[in-house]
């Protein structure tokens, strides 16, 4: 069966510090991968998605970036965090079928 992992579960970072969130998927190959963010009390915002290694589509221009160095690994990064980057970050995988499977999420607080 397929499993999706995200870490860390929680993170507190100061403004201006870098960020690296990692997501890995097990039990499937060549999945579509997605990064979402959910600010407190708000809806899900699609940040990036990838249909293959090295292929990244950005939905929201901001100080975040994503990379897919391996088939089942998706990384979300920032060089300098802003207060507005606080939120619940979710990684998901799918096959473009409107059936996505979400990881446990990372709650990021920027102070």
């Amino acid at each position: 069966s397929q499993t999706i992992h995200q870490w860390p579960a929680t993170l507190v970072q100061p403004v201006g510090s870098p960020l690296s969130l990692e997501c890995t998927v097990e039990g499937t190959s060549n999945p579509n991968l997605y990064w979402y963010r959910q600010a407190a009390g708000r809806g899900l915002q699609l940040l990036f998605y990838s249909v293959g290694i090295g292929q990244i589509s950005s939905e929201v221009p901001q100080n975040l970036s994503a990379s897919r160095p391996q088939d089942r690994q998706f990384i979300l990064s920032s060089k300098k965090l802003l207060l507005s980057d606080s939120g619940f970050y979710l990684c998901a995988w799918g096959r473009g079928s409107y059936e996505q499977y979400f990881g446990p999420g990372t709650r990021l607080t920027v102070t």
Binding site: Y36, G43, G96, Y98, E99, Q100, G103, G105
Partner: protein, 111 residues
């Protein structure tokens, strides 16, 4: 991607049947209708997907009229644990690489 409209929030009581309706007047011929459920501090979970008429699984039923301009998610005999946000999505499985979550319907089950 077809636009969807659903109520912002709903209240119901334990043991009742809950119906959440989603409007999608501009649904295209190849579009499917998909519903997700999201509990607090968790990622969304796929509930059900359908194209026309009725689909039922162990969690819910999905009713789609002949014109497909709306759909109704039916949750039988809800419990407190069904309190969540429910998202209606419309698009083409296996073609659309990304899906956009709207604000969803916040369902609150009362004892």
């Amino acid at each position: 991607l077809a636009k969807t409209t659903q109520p912002i929030s709903m209240d119901s009581y334990e043991g009742q049947e809950v119906n959440i309706t989603c409007s999608h007047n501009n649904i295209a011929t190849n579009d499917y209708i998909t519903w997700y459920q999201q509990f607090p501090s968790q990622g969304p979970r796929f509930i059900i997907q359908g194209y026309k008429t009725k689909v039922t699984n162990e969690v819910a039923s999905l009713f789609i009229p002949a014109d497909r301009k709306s759909s109704t998610l039916s949750l039988p005999r809800v419990s407190l644990s069904d309190t969540a946000v429910y998202y209606c999505l419309v698009g083409v499985p296996n073609r659309d690489d990304k899906i956009i979550f709207g604000k969803g319907t916040r369902l609150h089950i009362l004892p």
